[in-house]
Symmetry: C2
Subunit: 504 residues, 2 copies
């Protein structure tokens, strides 16, 4: 590993961590973070040393507590700093003496509210000691494999009634990395990703990004074998030229999906008062992202939907898409959105038509089924009809991907089509995305099962059409840059569903 990457690695794989401002007072950030790490150590996930630092305590959660960072015995790789802003510089001085490698400054109250000098001082101390900084005003790092979790949002909350509820869950391990300038969006994202069973490789919230910024983090994740897709939330970009260079290299290896907020004038103004971001013209960002192969999401749902589709399916080689359904209306809605997104749903090749005609003559699908794309098997559909139809569509030479609207409601449909369709996808290098509409038991089961089998499932026709657009756009970008074959080969040969793992 390169020296620069190794330095960043101390955020994710430290051999020892000191928590400056550790406490057991309920609800305090210093309590949440220290407890995260202590629990993780107790369970044997975090295998390094853990030093709580708090001048007023002898011991915390059974671990000896130290008065200052300097008092901690042995080396300290990583410090998490939760003390008031004014006290941070002095902690950093000790960190330099201790040869600390990396520091996460959770504390707010720096540049974002005008205290630029205070932030500059901290940065200059860190530079002197060659210490890498995340923050200030951030959540820091969550990496489930090593047990590092500097998030001050508690997993569980106690309501006024005394009831304990899941509040900010940590997602399971998986192949999606996320880096974010907004901590609040980051914690919300973790909640969303957990609930939707999307696994996360590494999570980083860098707040004011006084040192480590999006560019370096992108570079780190580009080299991270555990990460297949990178999700990025930004309000501004620090060093445009360097960022573009790294992004261009990265997107040939793995997809990068980004929300760059402040895209409207009023939004840019709001962003400025949020993180002090100076946003620049939004059209410039559009152009830059397109040039660098970054897939820009314009809404939260697009952001996660694109990430899910790209983590589970290969990109498409062309923009003409086949639609397979048992639901005529939703089929029409899908075509509408595909066309809005610049994709097509053209009629099949004659050869494909002939295959469907033969199926109808043999009584394997109904004569009343529509077979010219969309293929609509009607409410009389069966599991088998779906699978044989999908197989034929995959073989159509000018159909580059399939949107499968397998609405579970039809009486003749059981659940067998789920595994059968998923098995079929392994025969082809074309992407497939799935839709089932509904928010009760069977819909949730159907989408969940498809997801677990790497067929990304969505709750509406439009979500699926937009996800397919991301697969088509990324495929076109890779092809234009001569990287398509290599990417798809690597994608298809990569070990099984690492992005979706069942919790043990």
């Amino acid at each position: 590993m390169e020296e620069s990457l190794q330095r960043l690695d101390a955020f994710f794989n430290p051999k020892s961590v000191a928590v400056i401002g550790a406490t057991v007072k309920p609800g305090k950030p210093g309590q949440v973070i220290f407890k995260n790490l202590a629990t993780s150590k107790q369970r044997g996930i975090y295998k390094g040393e853990l030093y709580p630092v708090n001048p007023g305590e002898e011991s915390l959660l059974g671990l000896k507590c130290y008065k200052t960072l300097s008092d901690c015995p042995g080396d300290v790789d990583l410090v998490a700093i939760i003390v008031p802003a004014k006290a941070v510089a002095s902690v950093m001085e000790q960190a330099v003496t201790k040869h600390v490698k990396a520091a996460v400054i959770i504390t707010a109250g720096f540049k974002e509210i005008g205290n630029k000098a205070m932030e500059d001082e901290v940065v200059s101390i860190a530079k002197r000691g060659n210490i890498r900084l995340l923050g200030p005003n951030c959540l820091g790092v969550f990496y489930s494999k090593s047990g590092i979790d500097t998030l001050f949002l508690p997993e569980m909350k106690t309501l006024s009634t005394g009831k304990e509820v899941v509040a900010t869950p940590r997602p399971m391990f998986g192949s999606i990395a996320m880096i974010t300038q907004s901590g609040a969006f980051g914690s919300a994202a973790l909640d969303y990703l957990t609930g939707r069973q999307m696994g996360v490789s590494k999570f980083v919230s860098f707040g004011n990004k006084c040192d480590v910024s999006e560019t370096e983090m992108l570079n780190y994740l580009m080299h991270d074998d555990e990460t297949k897709v990178i999700l990025v939330y930004l309000e501004d970009i620090k060093n445009g030229r360097e960022f573009m260079k790294v992004a261009k290299e990265c997107t040939l290896k793995k997809p990068v999906v980004m929300i760059k907020s402040g895209r409207s004038n009023a939004g840019a103004r709001a962003a400025a008062s949020h993180t002090g971001a100076i946003a620049g013209s939004d059209k410039v960002y559009d152009a830059v992202f397109e040039q660098c192969g970054i897939i820009r999401a314009k809404s939260m749902e697009e952001f996660f939907d694109y990430g899910k589709a790209l983590a589970m399916q290969p990109p498409a080689e062309g923009s003409n898409i086949g639609i397979l359904t048992d639901a005529g209306g939703p089929g029409v809605m899908t075509v509408d959105e595909l066309e809005t997104q610049g994709l097509t749903a053209n009629h099949f090749e004659k050869e494909t038509d002939d295959k469907f005609t033969k199926l109808q003559q043999e009584g394997k699908i109904l004569m009343i089924a529509a077979t010219h794309n969309p293929v609509d098997l009607t409410a009389s559909v069966t599991d088998e009809q779906f699978t044989i139809s999908a197989d034929i569509m995959f073989q159509d030479p000018h159909t580059y991907g399939i949107i499968f609207l397998g609405l579970h409601h039809m009486p003749g449909l059981k659940e067998n089509y789920i595994d059968d369709i998923a098995a079929l996808t392994h025969k082809y290098h074309k992407p497939i995305v799935m839709v089932d509409i509904g928010e009760t038991e069977m819909a949730l089961f159907t989408r969940g099962r498809f997801d677990r089998l790497n067929v990304p499932a969505f709750g509406s026709p439009e979500d699926a059409a937009r996800a397919m657009k991301a697969l088509v756009w990324y495929g076109a970008y890779l092809k234009k840059n001569g990287a398509y074959e290599k990417y798809v080969k690597a994608f298809k040969s990569s070990a099984a569903p690492s992005h979706v793992q069942t919790k043990e």
Copy 2:
């Protein structure tokens, strides 16, 4: 009630129903529909007579079975017809003799696959007997209050493993009516509405609409006191002039949200092969809807989100919106989408600024909070801070609605703000919509609780911004037509949350 409305009322409140093609063979439409009605009668919900008709059976589910419709004793208000297409005309002949008022023809295989003559024959028989027809090729009617349910999609399904699961649930009673040309979209909608706790007043799927069409149904629902909002899915419109006339009248009384699919060229082609719809230019539809006050949704999520917002909140008097949050990033995303939708999030009036300054000086909200819209109370937010801030924002004279992003993750936040904010809304006539991001326990609880208290809650900033757009657009339409005051007065005085009722 007018004569024409009374005739339609036989679909929802018949005194006697005959099911032509009733059976107990599992999975058959005739079994599902008959069982729906028999169960409903057994439970005392459907209070009328129920006659299964099947020449091969003596009795079904304990009810005497009749060989033909003519054999049924006494009057028959409504017939549900599930026999093969060729046999439908003969059933209709008997219906004329029996003075049946209304018929739901579930059977497919008519005009939609080219059998226009067969459909015309059925229509002409019905006309002779003054019988109103729904269908053919439809699901018919679901009305929970009278227990009428002609949907052939079973509520429960048995999987291959033998496990029973909820497949097509019926939603609770509420204030949202839905009429749909696509049965598949209709059943999916019921699944969605049930899972999202949105109550339904009346549901109608009219398929080929050989007789009763969208226009008459809109007229019926306009006069229906149980319905506050009407959701409509269409692929074409039968009689444009008449439709516009009724729609214009209806939208002054209650909002109509519509998906008109086939909005793209390819989608229109797909719609033609689905229902034989001849779509016409989509721009014409846009213009017509705007003129008639119909709110057009361009995606499934917009469709339901608009419906929910309009059922729970009054329309806005202006397009400038206040944003209250504890999450800076999502606040920026909200502003972005508001501006995209043509709304604004301008700074407050001086008076409002002064109130916030005073709160900061008194230590009631933090000095680091942003207070110029968006109001960002930061991760240090408390329940009380949210409520006092919302109160001030409601009072700002040029803030016409509030988007409240109360992300539950912040450590100092309990659940008290939910009921407090909801209580506050009763003091004002301005709309509020809520966002909490996440898909696990506390997020689901928070959104669910807000929904039950009539503050529509959404899972993403953009969904909320679009829902607010619907409230602003409808408010402007009502004002332009001099109907705003009357509508809001009726809305505010209408009995409590009839659209969201807890199942007993």
